[in-house]
């Protein structure tokens, strides 16, 4: 469905179910240069279980209008406005990659709005190498190819999708190719620049679930260690043979993990 946020037409996938007043929200935030479609299976699942799903397209992504937002904090503020616009007072918030930083920042700075936080394929800080940033800045195709390549485990480069007949590398590649000019650089830079996270992690009050891929090349598990230790109520689900694109590689295990916090 479409809502208005900051006078811009904004798309929110609802898992094919209409929201029900008073029901708990479950907000999903996509990663760099992606959109709501990475959450389709999970969104449909938790919608059937009665949650009000808000799988957002951030501004300038997917179907949402507006300019991209250059910082994680700015994206977090926007998410809160989207919650307001859709009448969602309190929500479980789930983010993947860049989206996990946004979800984290919402949980840190707007603790009253968050019942539970889930961070999928994450680390704080989330530095991005110069080669990738420079390629993204020039909007070269190779930047999207690098993101696609490093997002998948070695095993996933040969396939084995849980969704029958889907070639995961092709699917994520096409999704990244759809992103508009400057989007991938904006998002990667926002991740790179989000350096206050470890300090801010002490503000997290919500129980926090980490879903991590053992073979994550983009946000290696070791880089999430300090973050996990800083958050008092945290738990971790470690997925073997899984890379950074957990939404693509292990949607079933991600669903099962998320079900533990709903």
């Amino acid at each position: 469905m479409y809502i208005d946020v900051d006078n811009h037409k904004t798309y929110i996938a609802t898992g094919s179910k209409e929201h029900i007043d008073g029901n708990m929200g479950m907000t999903f935030i996509h990663g760099t240069a992606m959109d709501h479609t990475v959450w389709t299976l999970a969104g449909r699942h938790f919608a059937r279980r009665g949650l009000n799903i808000l799988a957002v397209d951030l501004p300038g992504h997917g179907r949402s209008e507006g300019d991209v937002i250059p910082s994680i904090e700015g994206m977090a503020d926007w998410v809160v406005k989207a919650l307001d616009a859709s009448g969602q007072d309190k929500t479980i918030i789930v983010g993947h990659s860049m989206g996990s930083l946004v979800a984290f920042d919402v949980a840190a700075r707007y603790p009253d709005r968050i019942k539970h936080l889930a961070m999928v394929g994450t680390s704080i800080p989330m530095p991005v190498g110069d080669l990738l940033l420079d390629s993204a800045k020039e909007d070269k195709d190779v930047a999207k190819e690098m993101v696609n390549f490093w997002s998948h485990s070695q095993a996933a480069h040969l396939g084995g999708s849980q969704v029958p007949g889907t070639w995961m590398i092709g699917k994520l590649g096409r999704l990244l190719e759809r992103s508009g000019p400057g989007v991938i650089y904006n998002d990667l830079k926002a991740c790179h620049d989000y350096v206050d996270g470890v300090e801010r992690s002490k503000q997290i009050q919500a129980p926090t679930l980490f879903i991590l891929g053992e073979d994550d090349f983009m946000t290696p598990v070791r880089n999430a260690k300090e973050l996990v230790e800083n958050i008092p109520q945290s738990s971790t689900v470690m997925l073997p043979n899984c890379g950074h694109a957990i939404v693509n590689e292990a949607p079933n295990e991600m669903l099962d993990a998320l079900a533990t916090i709903v």
Partner: protein
């Protein structure tokens, strides 16, 4: 300049789609000869039915062995996903039926396999879908044939049997200018010889019975989605962009983005039309894909020698193969198909149908049958077999004369193949002189 190194074709053709079986360690893809799959619990069952979890429900919709094949061909083509079908003909029909409603229209190259021509010319009109056939070399003809109700352009990458090469970039541009997809049948070329998505095609169909399988053992088809076509750029495809009552108001473009088309194929065509591929057939095609490049190289090198032999033979009136400089698509083939264009081609024998039959009946290594793309060499007389339901006018339009003989060159010793053909010509020559 940074470059991302992904797995090469020969690695994907052997491995893509499969992870060795966790329980048994089976290196070969296991044949899951089962109709259905036990749900973990009731909620998981409900989740599977509602597209919330990946996995298999019922083998008409998906099967673990077949899913490996679908993923492998999608990987080789560079698509987002694929759906396997019980035959190539079912792949063509399911692709069309997913995109074209009653009252819809197709623009197709007239250089087609006879079964596809029959479907479009005689069968689809029964369901209110009509086709305008155009000369594949007349690029403007594609443009002129498009009507408001046209929903796709169709063509074969290299046509069977006259070897017309579809100018995919040019035809794709016409399709996209009109907000419709280009669907190509790449049966004769396979992803080894051409990558239609890289050239602008949107959907690829295969008869995997042919070169993909490679051994004439199985009927199989595949539909592959390139994932690039923008279904939302037009109101021509409500089945993709609007809520589908047949699946709880699911909108395929909203929920599946780049995989909208192939998701609709699986959740409508596979489900409702039922032309699913048997798991054992999937296994056999998978075995074929493992040697695809090796076989195609041999098919092509043998073909090159046979074409040269035929081209200089005094019993041969003409040879239609893009290798030859007088072929109208000689330069286009070199550009689009640098590894070689096709091992399926035709020639005209002196003396027409009667002498042609004498020639075919004398051959020993070439088998006279209705198939192409076997490791073994094949021969047929299309006017009396595969294309017999076409009218004289349609045959003429497609360039299929009474004396046309189609060859599918196998991977035997090329010297033995040429000797076999020579025997046939000697006998045919004697018959001609009588």
């Amino acid at each position: 300049m940074a470059k991302v190194k992904t797995f090469d074709f020969d690695t994907l053709s052997n491995h893509a789609g499969q992870r060795p079986d966790k329980e048994t360690g089976s290196r070969a893809v296991p044949i899951y000869q089962t109709a259905s799959y036990v749900f973990r619990d009731s909620d998981a069952g409900a989740a599977m039915f509602n597209i919330e979890r990946g996995g298999h429900v019922y083998s008409r919709i998906s099967n673990p062995t077949t899913a490996v094949l679908e993923e492998r061909i999608s990987a080789l083509e560079g698509g987002v996903g694929a759906v396997a079908t019980s035959s190539g003909q079912a792949a063509v029909f399911n692709a069309i039926a997913t995109l074209v409603d009653q009252g819809g229209h197709i623009v197709s190259s007239y250089a087609l396999y006879g079964g596809t021509h029959n479907l479009m010319e005689y069968t689809l009109p029964r369901f209110g879908i009509t086709t305008t056939f155009v000369d594949p070399n007349d690029i403007e003809g594609f443009k002129k044939a498009i009507k408001p109700e046209t929903r796709l352009i169709f063509g074969e990458t290299v046509a069977n049997p006259k070897t017309e090469v579809l100018n995919i970039p040019e035809v794709a541009k016409i399709a996209h200018d009109n907000h419709i997809p280009l669907v190509v049948d790449s049966t004769t070329t396979t992803p080894y010889l051409i990558k239609p998505f890289d050239l602008g095609a949107d959907i690829v169909v295969h008869s995997a019975t042919k070169f993909l399988s490679g051994h004439g053992t199985s009927m199989a088809g595949l539909i592959v989605d390139g994932g690039v076509f923008d279904w939302e750029s037009t109101d021509k495809f409500p089945q993709m962009t609007e809520k589908y009552e047949g699946f709880h108001n699911l909108s395929f473009t909203e929920e599946f983005g780049p995989a909208a088309f192939i998701s609709r194929v699986r959740n409508e065509a596979a489900r409702d039309f039922g032309a699913c591929l048997a798991p054992h057939s999937s296994f056999l095609v998978l075995n074929g894909t493992e040697t695809l490049s090796v076989r195609m190289d041999k098919h092509i090198s043998n073909t090159n020698k046979v074409v040269d032999y035929l081209n200089g033979h005094d019993m041969v009136e003409w040879v239609s193969h893009p290798n030859l400089k007088d072929h109208p698509n000689h330069d286009l083939a070199k550009e689009l198909l640098p590894k070689g264009s096709t091992a399926v081609f035709s020639f005209g024998i002196k003396g027409g149908r009667e002498i042609g039959q004498v020639f075919i009946d004398r051959l020993d290594l070439f088998s006279n049958l209705a198939n192409i793309g076997d490791a073994k060499s094949l021969v047929i007389h299309p006017a009396s077999t595969t294309h017999q339901r076409m009218t004289v006018e349609a045959l003429e339009e497609a360039g299929i004369s009474e004396g046309l003989i189609r060859l599918s060159i196998g991977i035997e010793s090329v010297d033995d193949l040429i000797e076999d053909l020579e025997k046939g010509f000697r006998t045919a020559s004697k018959a001609l002189k009588k």
